[in-house]
């Protein structure tokens, strides 16, 4: 589908005097799915925003296909790079369908509205997130989980080749968690690159082939998910004792007391 490569070169990110990562080197290739794990407040969101070009790094750079993010026009960037934010600061006054349709904004050919194809893509995304019944509801009357699904549908409508997803599973019930992860797995099979902040190690294990761990002292660890998702690494990461269970061949980690 594509050969989009998102790279971090000697990336040093800090926010409000707090160091998040030092000289991070990593490459996200097509068809890879990365999970970002770490304690609350460790800087997962800020790192993701830096990779999306929404936060300026202290040093180093993020590049897309070899060219720095800043060298790409914002619109051009948005055609390839989709971002799911953890929280949205604005208010949207329209209905759910109009909200999802905004995902086509970077691809819009005409200044005067969206094409039939744009609307079809929005409909498909609404169906994928089981939102067809809510498409005419005002967006600000949705519940937290419905809002989250609408935000994911908007990102899907964007048809990006690389997605940076900040806590895509927040507010979702179990069924929609599974369904959403299935949608992402399908994107990955189609050659999409994904990076998502997760708190559930099980989903990281099932869906991610790579993991990036951000530690509270500002160092980062990344590599294949199978190698890093072990009790030793996770106990060091979350600084709490964990119990390991094995259910039908899957490893579950639960916080011990």
């Amino acid at each position: 589908m594509n050969n989009l490569v998102l790279e971090a070169h000697k990336l040093t990110v800090a926010i409000g005097g707090k160091m998040i990562c030092r000289e991070l080197e990593m490459t996200i290739r097509p068809g890879e799915c990365w999970g970002v794990l770490g304690q609350n407040g460790v800087g997962k969101t800020t790192l993701l925003r830096t990779l999306a070009g929404l936060h300026k790094p202290q040093a180093g750079m993020v590049s897309l296909n070899g060219a720095a993010l800043a060298a790409h026009a914002r619109r051009n960037l948005a055609q390839h790079l989709g971002v799911l934010l953890q929280s949205e600061s604005g208010e949207f006054w329209g209905n759910v369908q109009e909200y999802v349709l905004l995902g086509r904004f970077p691809h819009r050919a005409s200044l005067f509205g969206y094409s039939v194809q744009d609307e079809t893509l929005a409909q498909q995304a609404l169906a994928q997130m089981e939102l067809e019944g809510l498409s005419q509801r005002p967006f600000n009357t949705l519940s937290g989980g419905e809002r989250q699904r609408a935000a994911i549908a908007q990102a899907l409508t964007q048809r990006a080749q690389c997605y940076l997803l900040d806590e895509p599973l927040q507010h979702l019930d179990l069924r929609h968690q599974a369904q959403t992860m299935q949608v992402f797995s399908r994107l990955k099979e189609q050659g999409c690159a994904l990076m998502m902040v997760l708190h559930d190690t099980l989903w990281a294990q099932r869906c991610c082939d790579h993991v990036l761990m951000l530690f509270a002292d500002g160092h980062a660890l990344h590599g294949p998910a199978q190698e890093l998702l072990t009790r030793v690494h996770l106990e060091a990461l979350y600084q709490c004792p964990l119990r390991e269970l094995s259910v039908e061949g899957e490893r579950w980690f639960v916080a011990g007391v």
């Binding site: 914002r74 619109r75 995902g103 970077p106 005067f112």
Partner: protein, 312 residues
């Protein structure tokens, strides 16, 4: 909804100290004969109605743009201190006994200074915090309020009346009508063309940037456009409140929120609303003429309250 435009214009043209029947208005507009009605209509009433319409359109459009800029449906030119700066400028000139032209120039300067201050201070520490911008505007408005009180205290009896009328909004000395219409049409057209970006921007800065909007450029452009609209409206009719806040809000409550429709509808309905308010203000207790600003508030508050209560 659009039929409110001809209805309000007709209402404005018919009523006044010399009431005209619809047919008389029609004949006078065609200019067939040379009677009093024609003179009154062309010399007095038509300019007044057109001034009210354009002034309402300007204020409403300015409100829509500021609401998209601040992502808050309750933002308007008054909250951001633009009209406060203009009022201080105008009153200071009146106090010094300046003529009309000098007063207008001075009010423009005051508004521009307020814009530069809010824009400069509000965005200096980082573009992400919209509340800093809002608060800068609120603080500046409060400061301007104090300066206005001071100027009113210093003024003599006759001057006070003129100043009060300016503060409350007065369309009887409207000047620069063609320019105001040009501003309304030009900015309205531009805003409609770029309305897709406004929809995205209203959803938040990060979101807009992630969807490919050059946020900094858009913010500066919007602020500038809103400022030009407000200053033009202020020069035409003094401080007239409530229009920029109420009309866009009312249109959103009836279910239109895409800026493609919101912008033209706001301009048209805002214009009609002010024509209506101005006509009532000058006819209800004729020969006394009330400041139109009082009427926009008296009409606006109940309507807004009704819309809000209906919603919840």
């Amino acid at each position: 909804m659009l039929c409110t435009v001809p209805l309000s214009l007709g209402f404005g043209l018919m009523n006044g100290s010399l009431p005209l029947a619809p047919i008389e208005v029609w004949h006078a507009l065609l200019g067939n004969n040379d009677d009093t009605a024609t003179t009154v209509l062309w010399e007095l009433r038509l300019p007044r109605v057109l001034a009210a319409f354009v002034c309402g359109g300007l204020l409403t459009l300015s409100g829509v743009l500021l609401q998209a800029l601040l992502r808050n449906p309750l933002a308007d030119p008054y909250i951001l201190g633009i009209s406060g700066g203009a009022a201080v400028g105008a009153l200071a000139a009146m106090l010094l006994g300046a003529g009309l032209a000098a007063t207008q120039l001075s009010s423009f300067t005051g508004a521009s200074l307020a814009i530069v201050t809010v824009f400069g201070l509000g965005f200096r520490h980082g573009e992400r915090n919209i509340y800093r911008l809002l608060l800068t505007g609120v603080v500046l408005s409060a400061g301007c309020g104090a300066l206005i009180s001071l100027l009113l205290t210093l003024a003599q009896g006759d001057e006070v009346k003129g100043m009060l009328f300016w503060l409350m909004g007065d369309l009887s000395h409207a000047q620069g009508l063609p320019f105001a219409w040009f501003v309304l049409l030009a900015v309205g057209l531009c805003a409609t063309v770029f309305s897709g970006g406004l929809d995205v921007l209203a959803g938040g800065l990060d979101k807009a940037a992630a969807l490919g909007v050059a946020v900094g450029l858009w913010q500066a452009g919007l602020y500038f456009a809103a400022a030009v609209l407000t200053v033009t409206a202020l020069q035409l009719g003094g401080s007239i409140g409530f229009v920029g806040l109420m009309i866009p809000h009312a249109i959103r409550l009836i279910g239109v929120s895409a800026h493609r429709w919101l912008i033209p509808l706001s301009a048209l309905l805002g214009g009609s609303f002010l024509v209506l308010a101005d006509t009532l203000a000058r006819t209800l207790w004729s020969p006394l003429q009330f400041p139109v600003g009082v009427f926009t508030a008296l009409l606006g508050v109940p309507v807004l309250l009704w819309l809000l209560s209906r919603r919840s």
